[in-house]
Amino acid sequence: MAMLEARDIHVRFGDRVVLEDISLAVEPGEFHGIMGPNGAGKTTFFNVLTGRVRPSRGTVRIGGEDVTGLSPHAIAARGVARSFQIMTLFDEFTARENVEVALPEFRARGFDGRRAAVGDPAFAAAARAVLAEVGLAEKAETVAKDLPYGDRRALEIAVALAQRPRVLCLDEPTSGLGLDGVTRLAALVAGLKGRLSIVAVEHDMEFLFGLADRISVIHWGQVVAHGLPAELRANPWVRRSNLGRLQ
C-alpha cells in the first residue's frame, strides 16, 4: 500500500483551475521528486497534501487513511511534516527550542502549563540527537535568527525530522543554497532515504535526478510525465524544456 496517495486532485481558485486531476502515489521509503516550471501548481499541490488548501475534488490518503480536507494540524498529527519554501522558523527560539517544540512528545504535553519545559532532559536529549543528525550539534543554543543561511536550511530540515514523520514534504529545499550547501543537503537527504517517504519539489535537476527514486513532472496543473530518473532523461517533454538541461 502506498504511504501517500493523491487521487484526481482538482483545485480551483475562482474560475482558475490550478490543479487538474493530479494523481500520485509514494511508496514507504520512496523519495519522490516533483519538478515543473514556476506557476505549474507544485506548491498548491503541497498545500493540498498538508491541509492548507482543500481540493475541489479528489482524495488524499496517508497510510491508507483518507485525510482529504482535514486541517493542517490534524494532518501533521498523522505524520506529515513539511518544510517551507519561505523559511518560517521560530526566530526568537534557539535551534534546540525550535526542534523541541516539533517533537511529538512535546506536542502531547502542549496544554501542560504546570511543569517547566526548560531543562526537561527528555526534550533536550531528543532535540540534540536530531540537531546532531543535521550537523547542528554545536549550534543548539544559538538563536535561530542569528544562524547563517545554510544552517537555517538545515534547522528547517531538523524541525521537520523532529516530528518523526512518515511523509516528509520538502518545498524547494535547495533554494538559496550555495554549492557547498546543496552538497551538504544532498548527503543529509541521502541518509534519510529508505527511512521515510519524501516528496520534494525542486528546481535543481542534478539534486533531484541524483537522489529521487521516481520523478513526476507537473505542468499546467497536470502530471505530464512520470517515471524513473533514467526514463525521464529520455522523455521528449523533459528534453525539450529547459528543465532537462542535464549533462
Binding site: P72, A74, F90, T94, R109, F111, D112, G113
Partner: protein, 339 residues
Amino acid sequence: MRTPPHAARLVTPAMLMVGLVLATVPLWIAKVGLYPYLGVEILIWSLYALAFNLLLGTAGLPSFGHGAYFGIGAYAFGLFQFNVAANLWLCLGAACLAAAAAGGLVSLFISHRRGIYYAFMTIAFSQIFWVLAVKTHSVTGGEDGLLKIARLPADFGVAAIDLTSNTALYYFVLVVFMLGVVGLWRLTHSPFGRVLSAIRQSETRAAHLGYPVRRYKMAVFTLSAALSGLAGGLFAMAQNSAFPDVMSLHYSGIVVMMVLVGGGLVSFWGPVVGVVVYLIARDVIGAVTNAWMLWFGLLFVAIVLFKPEGIAGAVQSGRAALAPKLRRRSPPLAAAERG
C-alpha cells in the same frame, strides 16, 4: 521574549527580591509623600497587566478590550456578595469564573482571526459588555455603579483576618499577586507557554507542527480573562464599589499602554514596571498639573518612537552594552572561576 535565566524554577531570585521590596512598602510609602491605597492599586493593576500580557506578550494576541473582563470580575464580586454568599473566597472564585465564562464565549468567536481583525473583534465584544453594564441598571446600578461592596474578611477556618484597613488589604493582595506571579512565570515557561510563543512567531508553522492553534488561542484568552477577572474582583473590594468605566475602551487602552511602556513584549516583569510608572506618574505629575495625561502621553510616544521594547527593553540593552565592559574590567574574577 527569549528564554530568561531561571526559567525552569518555580520561584526565582527576582521574585523573592520583588516580594521583599513590596512587603516593605507600607512601612515607607507615607513617608515619601504617597499613600497606602496606591500600593493596593499598583498590585491589582500589576496582576491585571500580567494577565493581559499573557495574551499580548506571550501569545501575541492583541486584545484591546480587556477591561471588559476586569469589569466583569468586579461586578461578579459585588453581585455574588449581595445575592449569594458574603465569603471572600467564593466571591473571588465567582469573579474568576464569570470573567472566564465571558472570555471563553468571546474566544469562540474570535480565535480563528489574526492581527488587526482579532484586535477589532476584541474591541467590539468589550463594547457590548460595557453597554450591558451601563444599561442593565437594575443589576449593575448603571452609571452609578454597584456601591457598598464590603471588604470581606479572609476566613481561614481557624482564624479570620480583617481586611478593612488598607494595610491589611495590601498584604492580602500582595499574597494573591505573588501567587499569580509564580503561576504565570511557570505557565509562560511550560510547554503550553512555549507553544503560545511559537504561535505568536508563526501561526502557520505551529499548525503544520500539529498544534490546534485555534484551541490554544481559546485556552489562553479564557485564562487571561479569568485572571483579569480576579484582579477586577480585588479592585471592587479595594474601592468598595464597581463602575462601568473600567470596562470602557479608554480604560482598556490604559492597560495596553502600561504594558507597552513597561516592556511587556520583551520581559516578564515589563507590565509591572509599566503599572508602577503609570500610577506613580498619575499621582506625582497629577498633583502638579491636571494635564498629566499629556506628559504621560508624550512619554508613550517617545517610547514607541525610540524604544518600542519599552523600559524593560531599554534596561536589557543597557545591560547588554555594559556586560563586555564589566567582563574586561574584572579579569582576575574570570580567571578564578576558570581555575
